[in-house]
């Protein structure tokens, strides 16, 4: 009974320590081709280096346990020079260990370089090209296309088709950020004045959370993103939806909401296609209701959360750049109704 309790405690600890959600934001839950390569490399390193650690520790503890028995204690206080033969043997073993270390490390270098090449930008011709701009503290995404009318702009949530490589090409508009979705690929810094690239490929549908991985100021902790991998037909349907202009308000309540939006400073920062609002410095709201979170992954996208966010953004993400706009009591509900209609 006690043994079972102890065992279940350890299992629970292991599970909780490791988290037990299906697609948690973890490099160990590799769902993309690149992430899986990295994960295999990780297991190889872990097992090999863990074995080396065990060997070194056994040798160290062996030295500890080989301490002279009590009968020779009387000589412990004097210094001594070990016999030459023994010294030479030990020196040879040290040299040998050094050589083996070198060989193992060389092998690790080779394997790392090979894996690195396999995940590097490869110029795949059918890649979906996505531009990422890091901003303090949200993500701008645009699906590039030679045909300007087919460019989709969105924020904080990226949809990608399963099985097709996606080329993430990014930069930052203010400070250095880092684009990281551990389930799919390692991270890539977004550096102002430079463009960096990486490929990622999802091979299963799913929802993958990512997070900014380079300290970027006050709300670095709350700059998350979601990547939704979908079968190609669902993805195409989503793209077509995103290409539409915003849903026009269809009842007086939502029309009032649009007016509230246009009459306050929302219009200075946000863009809603099909309305006069063309601000470029804040997330694009044209299809806000099609996203699952708001404030860069901070809150689930519900009417209540949206109202709370608009009413007092500084409470949820203190220091973020959204203005605190005082709205009259009758204005909030129509505004939220309108925004949540923007599918």
């Amino acid at each position: 009974m006690k043994r079972r309790a102890i065992a279940s405690f350890f299992i629970a600890a292991a599970i909780t320590l490791n988290g037990c959600m299906s697609t948690r934001q973890s490099a160990l839950d590799a769902t993309g081709i690149e992430a899986r390569s990295i994960l295999h490399l990780w297991w190889f390193f872990l097992i090999l280096l863990g074995t080396i650690f065990a060997i070194v520790m056994i040798l160290t503890l062996g030295a500890l346990l080989r301490r002279q028995p009590a009968s020779e204690r009387q000589f412990v206080e004097q210094h001594h020079t070990p016999p030459q033969e023994r010294e030479r043997k030990l020196s040879r073993m040290v040299s040998g260990a050094g050589v083996i270390t070198g060989l193992i490390l060389f092998a690790l270098i080779v394997i790392s370089v090979i894996t690195g090449k396999s995940i590097a930008p490869s110029g795949a011709s059918n890649a979906l090209l996505v531009t990422v701009h890091g901003n303090q503290w949200w993500w701008y995404f645009s699906y590039d296309n030679d045909d300007a009318s087919k460019i989709v702009v969105t924020a904080n949530e990226l949809h990608i088709p399963v099985g097709r490589p996606v080329l993430i090409r990014g930069t930052s508009l203010d400070v250095i950020h880092s684009f990281w979705v551990p389930n799919l690929m390692g991270k890539r810094d977004l550096i102002p004045s430079r463009i960096t690239e990486e490929y990622l490929t999802a091979d299963r549908p799913g929802r993958f959370r990512g997070q900014c991985a380079e300290f970027c100021g006050l709300e670095h902790a709350k700059m998350a993103l979601w990547i939704i991998a979908e079968p190609p037909d669902q993805f195409q349907a989503w793209m077509n939806q995103q290409l539409q202009p915003s849903v026009a308000p269809d009842d007086p309540d939502k029309q009032r909401g649009l007016q509230v939006f246009l009459n306050h400073e929302c219009i200075f920062c946000h863009n809603i296609n099909g309305t006069p609002a063309h601000g470029q410095v804040a997330p694009d709201l044209t299809h806000l209701a099609s996203r699952s979170t708001i404030a860069a992954g901070t809150l689930p996208n519900t009417k209540g959360n949206l109202a709370g966010w608009i009413a007092d953004p500084q409470r949820i993400k203190p220091g973020n750049y959204m203005a605190t706009v005082p709205l009259e009591s009758g204005d909030m509900q129509p505004l939220v109704d309108y925004l949540e209609s923007l599918k």
Binding site: H133, N135, D144, I151, V153, L173, E265, F268, A323, P326
Partner: protein, 171 residues
């Protein structure tokens, strides 16, 4: 005859208002506008004691930095460049058209001014206006040196690098 009577009646109705004497204005119209943003030095009657309207964000490095950000985001730099002026007058100067005290600048931003300065009152909250005031004053070394950023990061108004508009986007 009837027409004349009706026309006379309408005229009478229309002229009713002109004789009306509004002896007791509604309370909202009793407010005396703040005299802190005074633009003329001459006052009738005796000298009033001026209410002390100071910028609550005076000396705050954070507020000046926010003002710098808002100056760009709200496109003040579109007319005023980074203080040097262009379509609009320069903001780095000693002779202010409408006064250079914090209250004056606040007034300018809220009310707008003739010849193109938009009126921002009612569109952006007061705390952001004070941040902009602090920034504009800092351009003229009216804020403590310890809080003032030495120069804007961006000397060009619209640098050729990237904005959040995707290439080729026309919407």
């Amino acid at each position: 005859m009837r027409i004349i009577a009706v026309a006379a009646g309408c005229l009478a109705l229309a002229s009713c208002q002109t004789g009306k004497e509004n002896l007791r204005p509604a309370p909202a119209r009793l407010a005396v506008y703040s005299d802190a943003a005074r633009e003329s030095q001459i006052q009738p009657g005796g000298a009033l004691t001026e209410p002390n309207v100071t910028n609550p964000d005076y000396g705050s490095a954070f507020a000046i930095s926010e003002g710098q950000r808002l100056f760009d985001w709200y496109n003040c730099s579109g007319c005023h460049a980074h203080g040097g002026g262009g379509i609009g007058p320069p903001l780095i100067k000693t002779q202010w058209i409408y006064g250079g005290e914090p209250a004056n600048i606040f007034d300018t931003i809220v009310k707008g001014r003739p010849n193109g300065m938009p009126s921002w009152g009612g569109r952006i909250p007061q705390y952001q206006i004070w941040e902009l005031v602090a920034f504009v004053r800092s351009l003229n070394h009216e804020e403590p040196t310890a809080s003032t950023a030495p120069r804007g990061d961006n000397i060009e108004i619209n640098p050729a690098n990237i904005t959040n508009k995707a290439q080729g986007e026309t919407k």
